[in-house]
């Protein structure tokens, strides 16, 4: 029976064409060139399409991400046949699959959201409908509808992969493709719609004057808690969820949830664990800003406004995704030689340090080459767009092109696949309860809390010492 790309990613063996760091550096160079060329063509305010308005470019960036996730994680490359995936040149594969993903994206945005929902359901999904509102300019009609459409993609970018990673595709894991893909797609699309309506719909409802209180809840229910009526509060935790899903899937190897032996307990714990970890991150990244820039003041603009602070939480979260994916895709998820918990901790520390470094570098230099403006909270400064765009290119390089040109792909043999499973189970079995482990756990928790306390104590001084914008 045709398997399409079922388990394709784990059943392929990526072989370095050169030893040492050359493949990683080569791929970094290759993807950065593609990044900059496509950035200039599509997004740059000085370039060709100038989609960095910013919401137009942001919408396409988010949608490309979710469509790739759907193709690979939900549909396992269906309708592309396994033979084709294994035997086609990576460059051809990359071009065909990217073109396919753009086609899907176009149908979703123009056909589904603007065409169907925007014309027959909710006016704000279609700029042509929105522009009929007295006083609104075309520019902002487009910005508003792009925001609504992109938020849907942001939500799905968390829920769709979470269902595969946490819920382990259940209860449809045994179905052949495309039945499995459509089941997962419909289920996660439905959940994303619910999340959309209780998070972003009230945000859209208060864009109108007067507030559309009879069709969306206004003022939104989160106002008191988040200190703003803006939906950026939700954008922030949803982005954190997306980032946590991918951290869990890559550098954390689904640890520690994979220790739970009861399957349904494990799945549910993982699904909600992602949300809990994301909220911890969400609150912490907001607190970080209060510690460095001072308390937010509601009603101010930009850097002091709570709505922008929440947006910046989402932006900061994305800075963690970039090094984690690099470590996983191009550095073989280094290190692997210790026990799983130790490996995970080391990778997390590397990711943390790299994310902070990237953040500092980004704000120091990006305005010199991206066509954006200097400063944290300039209205035209949206680091999520270039960073997710880069992540997209890495995903395409890894998923669609098997890490070409630094690597080449050979399918694993049945024995190799079996050996992988044994090794993975051994890693899990290696973490077993013992009094020493218990003692370590206790000490670790204390150390973790101490680390947190020291961080928040030292942060204001550290930040002042670095002075990113000077």
């Amino acid at each position: 029976m045709e398997r399409y790309g079922t388990n394709y990613l784990e059943e392929r063996k990526l072989i370095k064409r050169w030893s040492g760091p050359i493949p990683a550096l080569l791929n970094l160079l290759f993807t950065l060139i593609v990044f900059y060329a496509t950035w200039w063509f599509f997004h740059d305010p000085r370039g060709v399409m100038r989609m960095y308005t910013p919401n137009v470019g942001y919408m396409y960036t988010c949608w490309w991400l979710i469509v790739m996730i759907w193709i690979v994680y939900l549909f396992n490359f269906w309708p592309f046949k396994r033979k084709w995936l294994e035997n086609t040149h990576p460059l051809t594969k990359g071009l065909v699959l990217c073109a396919f993903s753009f086609g899907v994206l176009y149908v979703m945005i123009n056909g589904f959201f603007e065409g169907i929902l925007g014309n027959f359901g909710l006016a704000y999904f279609n700029p042509d409908q929105l522009v009929k509102l007295p006083g609104i300019t075309e520019f902002f009609a487009v910005e508003y509808s792009c925001l609504a459409i992109l938020m849907f993609a942001a939500i799905a970018a968390w829920i769709s992969p979470a269902w595969v990673i946490a819920m382990e595709e259940e209860p449809w894991s045994k179905l052949p493709q495309p039945a499995k893909g459509f089941s997962l797609f419909i289920c996660t699309f439905f959940l994303s719609t619910i999340v959309y309506f209780v998070t972003m719909h009230p945000h859209m409802g208060i864009l109108y004057h007067p507030w559309q209180s009879f069709t969306s809840i206004a003022p939104p229910y989160w106002e008191g808690f988040a200190d703003t009526v803006s939906g950026n509060f939700h954008m922030a935790w949803i982005m954190c969820c997306t980032v946590v899903v991918w951290l869990l899937e890559t550098i954390w190897q689904r640890y520690p949830f994979n220790l739970i032996r009861n399957p349904w307990l494990r799945r549910i714990a993982t699904f909600f664990g992602i949300i809990v970890i994301a909220f911890a991150m969400h609150f912490f990244l907001y607190f970080v800003q209060e510690l460095t820039w001072g308390e937010a003041i509601r009603g101010t603009r930009r850097a002091f406004a709570p709505d922008w602070r929440w947006l910046h939480v989402a932006e900061m979260a994305i800075f963690f995704l970039v090094p984690a994916l690099f470590l996983n895709f191009y550095c073989g998820n280094w290190p692997r030689k210790f026990s799983m918990p130790v490996n995970v901790l080391i990778r997390t520390v590397i990711t943390l340090v790299a994310a902070v470094t990237l953040y500092i570098m980004y704000y120091k230099t990006s305005h010199l080459f991206l066509g954006t403006q200097k400063g944290f909270s300039h209205p035209q400064q949206f680091p999520m767009i270039p960073l997710i765009w880069l992540v997209n290119i890495w995903l395409a390089n890894n998923w669609f092109m098997d890490n070409w040109p630094g690597w080449k792909m050979v399918p694993k043999t049945v024995e190799e696949i079996e050996a992988d499973h044994v090794a993975r189970q051994a890693e899990i079995d290696d973490v077993r309860w013992s009094p020493s482990l218990g003692a370590g756990l206790g000490m670790g928790v204390l150390a973790g809390v101490a680390f947190y306390a020291i961080t928040i104590y030292a942060l204001p001084g550290l930040y002042a010492a670095i002075d990113i914008l000077k």
């Binding site: 991150m281 607190f287 200097k374 035209q380 370590g440």
Partner: protein, 388 residues
Amino acid sequence: MSIDKKEVKRRDFLKGAATGVGVGVFAAMGMYSYSDARKELFPQKERKKKDIGVCKSIHVTNISETSWFDNATLIGDIKKSGGLLVNQYDYNWPPFGNGQGLGKGSYKDGMAKIKEFLPDRLDEAWDVILENCIHPDNPGGYSCLIEMEEMDGNKRKFLLDTGWSYKWMDECFKREGIDTMLRNKEIEALFISHEHFDHYWGLPVTLQYDPEITIYIPEGFYEEGLQYIKDCGHKGEVHVVKNGLFEVAPGFATYVFPVPIICRVYGEQSLYFNIAGKGLVSVTGCCHQGIIRFAETAYQEIAYENDNFHGIYGGLHISPFEDWDPKYDDLVISLGKYGFERIGCNHCTGVLCAKKFINAGYPVVEGTAQFRSKDTAYLGNGDTITFG
């Protein structure tokens, strides 16, 4: 055997510890970071309460608040030139046109065509502008006259900003008698809030009547902006006001905010007046720093009568293009907390925002919608307001 056992114990301890660190960090992050307890870590700032003196009253005349007449035209120009990040001198807008079309202008080319006519022969300059600039009839400008009465009854006059279109601003100056006041040297100084086209490019309209007037500009002007003062034939003093507080007269101070602004502009200067028995009045050009930040800065920095925020005049830069965002609702909701007693807003506040203020029950002083101002929801061209 015992060495092996020790090694196993050590490894188990490490596994536990590595896991524990993660659990501890995330637990602490989740439980403490957004709790009320965190607020104890915020530094308590001491209010400086700098004494800037008091004045009896101010009377503001709105010379013009209509910076441009058609939103769609202006936004269209900006979009086609490459967006909100483009240098304002490159748009090819009046007066700096070189005839090359949208987004292809420069200060140098534009100035070369009009320099010989500045500042006295603005009619001739206008003819050149009509030929070389994009949409020459869309610009208006922002400018107001402030008459301040000191405690001893002495009256002093200041201009805030000088508008944009030479033609429109000259009409407005004549309508309000500013031309005569300038000729008679009744106006002490011209304060420029920021370098934006709609506040600053009408400079020769002021200078044709009084080329010796003292000018105060905020720190952060670009090279072209500084050159413009010279090229307009200014003969008086120019003061570059540094970021922070600057005391002008008893009861009158300005404050410069280092904010990055769209169309490549940096920094804005806004005005504080301390009115005897009433409280603080804010007078702003665009207020790109945000009215709440302006009020919070006053709270931290200066002392004012009754510790009370009394009034506002000017642009609040909320929805200049009549766009909306829930964060503006945050502003509408929170402005009430500051207790301003008279709000005379206009210009880049946006009509929509003024209407939301009125709906929220704020004391917005309505206007007469004359001389091409669009709505009575706020103070229009030719309207006046008195504080004190």
